[in-house]
C-alpha cells in the first residue's frame, strides 16, 4: 500500500462503508444552512485577511492583503525618465496574455482584418487554461436551456452576478462549442456526434462537455495551432509592465519587458485587451494553489493604476479538492469531474459529510469544518490535513475502465507516486484556485477606460462571488471572442494622441500622499520560490541586468 501506516485504519473504514454508500446520497443544504456554513468556515469570511484599498477607483473596498500589497506598490517604470516617444511596435489590437482568452481574442480580431499583436509572459499557451481538466458548460441538450444555465450560474454566484454578463455567457455558449467543433477540438462524443455530458458542482443539468480530462489543454492547443496557421504575430517571454494612455485618457498600448534581455519595448495600439488571468500565485491566506506559475495578477495591477474599476476582489475561489498527499504535488488540482463521475467525499471514519456536487465554496467550507471544528480529518505524516475522495466509486458505479478512459491525466499523475486511483481513494484539501472578481467589464468586454478591454479571469462580474466548474473555459472563449470583436471594430475608428505615463505618476503621488506606498514593485511578473538561504545570499547586491 502506498499510503503510510498512520492512514491505514482510515483507509479500511473507507472500504467498509462502500457498499452502504453506493445506495446513499447526502442531502443538499438549504440556502440558509449553506450561508451559515460559508460564514463560519469559508476563508472569504476571515475579516483579518483583508484590508481596504487606500487609493484608486475602489478606495475603501476590502481586498486580500496579498493583492493590496501589489496595488500599493511602485511601478517598474520611472514615469519621469521613460521615453514613450520611441515606439517599437505599432498595431491595431494589442493582446496581453497568451492563454485561452487572449488567443480567442487574437483569432477573432484577426478575422476582422486588423493588425494583431499578442504578447505573453511565458510560452504561448502556458496558462490556467491548459490546466483546466474537467470541462466546459453549454446548455445544448434537449432538457436544458440557456435560462436553466443562467439560473445555475447566478445561484452558484450568490445571486450577485452582473445580469448582462451572465446572459452573454449562457447565450453564446452553444455557439462557442460549435466554433470549437469546427476548429477540430476532440470532444467526448457518442459515435453519432451526441456530446457525452456530466454534472459539475451546482449544475441542475448534465451540461459539462469534456475532452477526456485534458479539456483545457485540448482547446488551448487547437486555438494556438489555428492562430499559427493564420500567422498571428506573437511575442513570448514579454510581459506587460505598464499600460500607456494618450493625452485624452484612452488606452494606447503598453510597455513590455523582454524577460531575457530585460529591455523595455513600447507598443502603440489603438485597442488593448488584457487577458492576463488571475492571482493564484499570490497565495492568498497562505494557501497552496492549483494555478500556473504566471498567475500573479499583473493585469489587475496595470488596469487599476490606469483607473479601471474592480469588482468582487474580496472573493477567492478555493477548489475543494486540491492534493493533500503526496507532499510533492501538494495543492495541485484534482478535477471536479471526479465528483461529477461519482466519487464521494469522506471523513476519517469513511463517512460522507457533504453532498459532493454542491457549489465549490460550500464544499470547501464543509471540508474545512470537517477538519477543524469537527476534528474528523485525516492527518498525514507531515501534518497536513485532508479528507478522502473515494475515486474507486467511479468504476463501481459506472463499470470497470471508466476511470482510465475518463481521467487518463489523473491516473498517470498518481501512478507516479504509486497510487492506483481506481482501487485506492485519494486525500484532498481546499486549494486556492480562481479569482472570482476582477476588472469590471460590460457585455462587450469594455472597461471604464476607452480603448481598454478585458477577457477571462482578469475580468470580474460574470461569476458573482463563486464560479461554477466549466464556466471558466466558457468565460474565456465567450469574452475572448467578444473582446476581440469589440477591440477590432473600435481600432478602425480610433485616433491616438501622444502617449503618456502621467497616470502612473499620479498613482505614485496618491500612494505617497496617503502614506500607503510600500517598498514593493508591481506587477510581480513571477513568484520567487527559491529557498530562504538563497534569498539571503542574493541580498545586498544589485540584480544583474
Amino acid at each position: 500500500m502506498p499510503y503510510p501506516e498512520c492512514m491505514h485504519a482510515s483507509l479500511l473504514a473507507v472500504e467498509a462503508t462502500r457498499a452502504r454508500r453506493l445506495k446513499e446520497t447526502m442531502p443538499r443544504m438549504s440556502l440558509a444552512a449553506k450561508q451559515q456554513v460559508l460564514e463560519s468556515f469559508h476563508p472569504d469570511y476571515r475579516a483579518e485577511s483583508f484590508r481596504p484599498l487606500a487609493v484608486g477607483p475602489n478606495r475603501g473596498d476590502r481586498v486580500p492583503h496579498e493583492l493590496a500589497d501589489l496595488l500599493e506598490a511602485r511601478s517598474r517604470i520611472d514615469p519621469a525618465m521613460f521615453d514613450v516617444t520611441r515606439i517599437d511596435y505599432d498595431t491595431d489590437v494589442l493582446i496581453l496574455g497568451g492563454g485561452g482568452a487572449g488567443t480567442a481574442a487574437a483569432l477573432t480580431a484577426a478575422e476582422q482584418g486588423v493588425r494583431v499583436l499578442l504578447a505573453t509572459k511565458l510560452r504561448w499557451g502556458d496558462s490556467n487554461t491548459i490546466m483546466a481538466q474537467g470541462g466546459i458548460q453549454a446548455a445544448d441538450k434537449e432538457n436544458d436551456s440557456p435560462a436553466q444555465h443562467y439560473l445555475d450560474l447566478v445561484g452558484g454566484g450568490g445571486f450577485v452576478n452582473i445580469p448582462e454578463l451572465a446572459r452573454a455567457l449562457v447565450t453564446d455558449a452553444p455557439a462557442i462549442i460549435r466554433w470549437l467543433e469546427e476548429l477540430g477540438v476532440m470532444f467526448d462524443k457518442e459515435p453519432d456526434g451526441t456530446m457525452r455530458t456530466v454534472h459539475g458542482g451546482g449544475t441542475s443539468r448534465r451540461r459539462m462537455h469534456s475532452c477526456r480530462d485534458y479539456t483545457g489543454m485540448e482547446i488551448m492547443r487547437v486555438l494556438r495551432d489555428e492562430a499559427r496557421n493564420r500567422g498571428i504575430q506573437v511575442l513570448e517571454f514579454s510581459p506587460a509592465v505598464e499600460l500607456l494612455l494618450d493625452e485624452s485618457g484612452q488606452c494606447a498600448g503598453a510597455i513590455l519587458c523582454d524577460l531575457e534581455t530585460e529591455e523595455f519595448f513600447v507598443v502603440r495600439a489603438r485597442s488593448t485587451i488584457i487577458a492576463t488571468g488571475g492571482m493564484g500565485r499570490l497565495h492568498v491566506q497562505g494557501f497552496p494553489t492549483t494555478n500556473h506559475y504566471g498567475a500573479t495578477a499583473d493585469g489587475i495591477v496595470l488596469a487599476y493604476r490606469a483607473g479601471a474599476r474592480l469588482v468582487f476582489m474580496d472573493t477567492v475561489q478555493y477548489h475543494p479538492t486540491g492534493v493533500a498527499y503526496p507532499e510533492q504535488i501538494l495543492g495541485q488540482l484534482v478535477t471536479e469531474k471526479v465528483r461529477g463521475l461519482g466519487a464521494q467525499l469522506l471523513n476519517v471514519e469513511g463517512e460522507q459529510f457533504v453532498n459532493e456536487l454542491e457549489t465549490r465554496d460550500l464544499v470547501s467550507a464543509a471540508i474545512i469544518r470537517e477538519c477543524t471544528q469537527r476534528n474528523r480529518g485525516v492527518v498525514t505524516p507531515t501534518g497536513m490535513l485532508g479528507v478522502w475522495l473515494d475515486t474507486p466509486m467511479i468504476d463501481i458505479k459506472r463499470g470497470p475502465g471508466t476511470t482510465a478512459r475518463a481521467l487518463p491525466a489523473m491516473v498517470r499523475q498518481y501512478k507516479r507516486y504509486g497510487i492506483d486511483i481506481t482501487s485506492e481513494p485519494i486525500l484532498v484539501y481546499p486549494t486556492q484556485h480562481y479569482q472570482n472578481g476582477g476588472i469590471l467589464i460590460n457585455e462587450r468586454a469594455e472597461t471604464s477606460i476607452p480603448g481598454l478591454y478585458v477577457a477571462g479571469e482578469a475580468s470580474g462580474g460574470v461569476h458573482g462571488r463563486n464560479r461554477l466548474m466549466g464556466n471558466s473555459l466558457l468565460d474565456i472563449l465567450v469574452f475572448g471572442r467578444r473582446a476581440g470583436q469589440t477591440a477590432a471594430r473600435a481600432a478602425l475608428q480610433t485616433r491616438l494622441g501622444a502617449l503618456t505615463l502621467r497616470h502612473v505618476e499620479q498613482y505614485h503621488h496618491a500612494l505617497a500622499a496617503t502614506g500607503s506606498l510600500n517598498g514593493l514593485i508591481a506587477p510581480m511578473i513571477l513568484p520567487d520560490y527559491t529557498s530562504p538561504a538563497s534569498k539571503i545570499r542574493r541580498q545586498g547586491g544589485i540584480p544583474i541586468g
Binding site: 438549504s30 440556502l31 476571515r46 511565458l122 510560452r123 502556458d126 496558462s127 491548459i130 490546466m131 481538466q133 446548455a139 445544448d140 432538457n143 440557456p146 435560462a147 443562467y150 439560473l151 447566478v154 445561484g155 445571486f159 449562457v170 452553444p174 455557439a175 462549442i177 460549435r178 467543433e181 476548429l183 477540430g184 476532440m186 462524443k189 459515435p191 456526434g193 454534472h199 441542475s204 448534465r206 489543454m217 485540448e218 487547437v222 495551432d225 496557421n229 500567422g231 517571454f237 524577460l259 497562505g286 494557501f287 510533492q328 495541485q332 461519482g342 477543524t372 507531515t382 501534518g383 490535513l385 459506472r398 471508466t402 487518463p408 498517470r412 499523475q413 507516479r416 538563497s534 545570499r537
Partner: protein, 253 residues
Amino acid sequence: METLVEVLEKQSELNEAVQPRLISISIAGKRYAVPEGLTILKALEYAGYRLVRGVGCRGGFCGACATVYRVADDYRLKIGLACQTMIEENMYLTQIPFYPAQKATYDLRALRPAGDVFIRFYPEILRCLQCNTCRKVCPQDLDVMRYIAAAQRGEVDRVADLSFDCLQCGLCASRCPAEIAHYHVAQLGRRLYGRYRQPLAAHLSRRLAEITEGQFDDELSRLQRMSRQELESLYAQREIEPEETTPAKKDED
C-alpha cells in the same frame, strides 16, 4: 475551535520540525545539496534558480519543463517533466527550455482526413528509422512511433487516439534522428479527427437554431429583471437531473 490559519501555521511548524536529509545533485555541471523528496523543479528553485524558461503550469499539463538527466555510473539519458519527477542522489540535470521544430501551416477547411494528408505537410515522416527513441523519451508514455506509422498510412483516427495525451513538450523531436516534429504531426491528426471524423452534435445544431430564432430571449429577460428573492426561490425549486449511473458506452478502438 482552531482557525484555518492556526491549523496551517501548526502544519508549517511541524514541517520545519522534520529536518529532511540533504542529497547531492548536479545542475548544469554544478553541485548543490537539496532536501530529498523534492521534484526536480522544486530542487532547482531550492538551489537558487529563479526560473523563467523551463517552467510553466507546475502541474504536468503544459510540457514547458521537459528535462533530460542521468544518474551517476549510468550512461543512459533519462527524461521527465521537472514538475513531476522526483530527484535522486547524484542526479545530473539539465532542462530543454526551447527546441526548434517546424510546424506546417494549413487551412483545415480545405483538407480531407485521409490519404496522404500527413505526408503532404510533413514528408519527413517517411524518413522514420523505427528506432523507437521517440517512444522511449515521451514523458507521457505515448506510443509515438506507432502514431507516426499510422500517419504514414493516413490513419487519422489512430493518430488522434494514440496522441491524445500529448503535452507538446518536444522531447520526441529533440531526439529523433529523422528530424521529425512528431507532436506537430499529431496536432494535425487530432484536428482532422475532431473536424471530420466526429460528426457535429445534432442537438447543438437544434439549439443554435432556437437561439437564433430568439426562443429564450423573453425568459432570459425575465430572469435578468428578477429580484434576488425571486431568483432564490426559483433556484431552490430547481429539479436536478439525476446522475447517469449506467456504464458509458465503450470507446470505439
